[in-house]
Symmetry: C2
């Protein structure tokens, strides 16, 4: 079992990563002082529940924990205020009190939704994450929790750190292959922003990662969460540094928005976005070869790197201008300096971004 | 102009109390470093807006602030997730960014709702309170913000401290008399829990307070917020001490719930609740005369002290058992030791509470 400590002063917490952890969930709740007198709310989705809910329930109930179960529909649509309200209803009817906790068993959707419930139920109770996707290694560090507004993603949320994260690698075996690749996009992103060796390691071990080899996965997730934890420790409330985590996300979010959420998985969209950031880096005169290296890594993980024709340039530009990362109208991008290092660049001309989008459609053809 | 400092470390903030402050609102926003580049959201209700919105708008717009206005319906019904969502829509469409703030112009309802918007919009932006009721002197200290769930009041919320509070006494002149008395209930409560002299001062100056005399009101609100600030500074997240602020609230909340919110104003309900707590104090052998002194103070402020017949005892008991103040089924009450001092008493027998409710219907007749 691997364990990563997320250092956030009195809000610090551990992430346990390993095989066979879910059947021992009760031991972790007890270790962290959770009450057997108060009921606990398990939030999961209808794709995860058939595979993994019983394992969690058996462990917790055998130890005398009382559970309230709330199963939401799989998919981004569950990160809505109306589903949030339903989960709140379950929590209230189940009699959750201030000593209760909310346990998220699922991917980033369940984590963000359940975390926002934990952050706001009676003005905040304990939160425990049990991620079941690779992508959720990202969302399990940093305490960002949120639901979407019809007009904008993640617009309604809070910062609420978990008590601990229990990452059972065995749950990942039931994940569809596209979801595996999408999750690996955030993993390699963590390399690209802060750790050159790790970025290359992801490429070199792409086969094992895609095959869910336990050793490779355990190491990759440990490095991924460590890098993110490092950034978050230095900037819990997203004052500055934390913005580097948004590599590929400005274009990525625009692709998700214009594609109508559903066409692209988040990891796929940011993969194209990271390819775009690499093109931008070269256009700004950063180290040659960043683009070629970046797309080699992404394609090794079966990720897309080309912007499809049917996503209109004006629509993408408009979506980016609405992106919350832009204060007062200026355009800001996370730009690679080299593999493993990035900077925040302000005042990128809109025309340059349009050029990059054009190149990105052709797989970077025009970039030299 | 009076000013009270609420000490909460880096979340400390001032409360400015005085006459003629709203027309100078812009100066306070500038003093507190709010951006003229980002839009600010003013949340108010349809009873307050006709009287006071124009004053605020004129001041802010003259100084170059851009405003987005969201007017909700007057009343507790606006503390709902659906109104919350509408206000969020206004915020997004108005282009609020991370440097924007949410300004609450109104009573406790507007304050709690707008505060929860500020706490969760983009995971938290600045919040400014401009209270227009006496009761809101209570809600403007402590950072508790919330909306109601259909099944329970204040169930969905956060702790989010304001940047500052601007309390213009002139706005109180348009307040209906019942609202004046209801607000004074929380004022005298602050005396009853921590300041004997202030509790008697409230009684002795009841006439001036009810007539909204500026000097009396200014002093009363300054003392009220100071006492609350004192308690909150020592216990920001409601770990223990802060519970003394709930004097009268256990019975009070039950009265509001069973009366169906609307029959009693919050201040009226807790007035009856405080009379009940005084009866409980005497039943537990505390200082004789607490009940008589307490109801003398409350009735001087035109507040009710008798529990009406039509509120069923079983319904009230059930509502109390659901009250979030009860951890794991035990009953806890804030009980006066004497005027100006209270303790938290755990494990109060349910039968005793039933006896108190019976006495409370008869104006305490049976209590000797
Ligand atoms: N809070 C943060 O810091 C943060 C960071 C990154 C992403 N996110 C959010 O995370 C979400 C995306 O996360 P995600 O990709 O995990 O999405 P997800 O939770 O929707 O999971 C992806 C899909 O896989 C299914 N699934 C999950 N675990 C499974 C398993 N073990 N076996 C079979 N199927 C399984 C789900 O039902 C869903 O259909 C987005 O909403 C994004 O905004 C948040
Ligand atoms: N956050 C906290 O710590 C805290 C503490 C106490 C109460 N509260 C909450 O506060 C709310 C009650 O506060 P309230 O009594 O101020 O309620 P309110 O905001 O509903 O105001 C009472 C009534 O007076 C009207 N009004 C307000 N200002 C006016 C003015 N200047 N002139 C004319 N009419 C005016 C309102 O439209 C409303 O009809 C409850 O929801 C309660 O839960 C919160
Ligand atoms: Zn991401
Ligand atoms: Zn109150």
């Amino acid at each position: 079992m691997r364990s990563v400590h997320v250092e956030l002063g009195e809000r610090s917490y551990p992430i346990y990563i390993g095989s066979g952890l879910l059947p021992q969930a009760a031991a972790y709740l007890i270790k962290h002082g959770l009450s057997v007198k108060s009921p606990h709310l398990v939030v999961t989705d209808d794709k995860v529940a058939p595979y993994h809910l019983e394992t969690l329930k058996s462990s917790l109930q055998a130890a005398g924990f009382r559970l309230v179960i709330s199963i939401v529909k799989s998919g981004e649509g569950s990160k809505s205020l109306s589903v949030f309200e339903n989960v709140m209803t379950d929590a209230i009817q189940g009699g959750l009190d201030r000593n209760s906790s909310v346990i998220a068993l699922g991917g980033g959707v369940v984590g963000d939704l359940a975390g926002f419930v934990a952050a706001t139920y009676m003005r905040g109770i304990s939160f425990i994450q049990m991620p079941t996707t690779i992508l959720a290694h990202d969302s399990s560090v940093g305490g960002k929790v949120a639901v979407n507004h019809l007009l904008a993603k993640n617009m309604i949320g809070a910062f609420h750190q978990p008590e601990f994260v229990l990452y059972d690698l065995d749950t990942l075996t039931t994940l569809p292959p596209r979801e595996v690749s999408a999750g690996l996009a955030e993993m390699v992103k963590h390399g690209l922003i802060k750790d050159e060796a790790f970025a290359y390691w992801c490429k070199d071990h792409a086969g094992e990662l895609l095959a869910l080899d336990l050793d490779a996965l355990g190491y990759g997730l440990e490095r991924g969460v460590s890098i993110k934890a490092d950034v978050v420790s230095q900037d819990e409330r997203e004052g500055g540094l934390r913005a580097i985590l948004n590599l590929g996300h400005t274009i990525g979010h625009a692709i998700e928005a214009v594609g109508g959420y559903g066409e692209f998985l988040h990891g796929e969209a940011i993969s194209i976005g990271m390819a775009g950031s690499a093109l931008l880096a070269e256009a700004l005169g950063r180290k040659k070869g960043i683009y070629a290296e970046t797309i080699a890594m992404l394609t090794a993980l079966n990720l897309p790197v080309i912007l499809p024709e049917h996503l209109d340039e004006d629509d993408l530009m408009e979506a980016m201008m609405h992106d919350k990362k832009f204060k007062e109208g200026t355009m800001v991008f996370v730009v690679p300096d080299s593999i493993g290092s990035v900077s925040i660049v302000k005042d990128i001309p809109q025309q340059l971004v349009r050029d990059i989008l054009k190149q990105l459609r052709k797989g970077g053809e025009a970039h030299v």
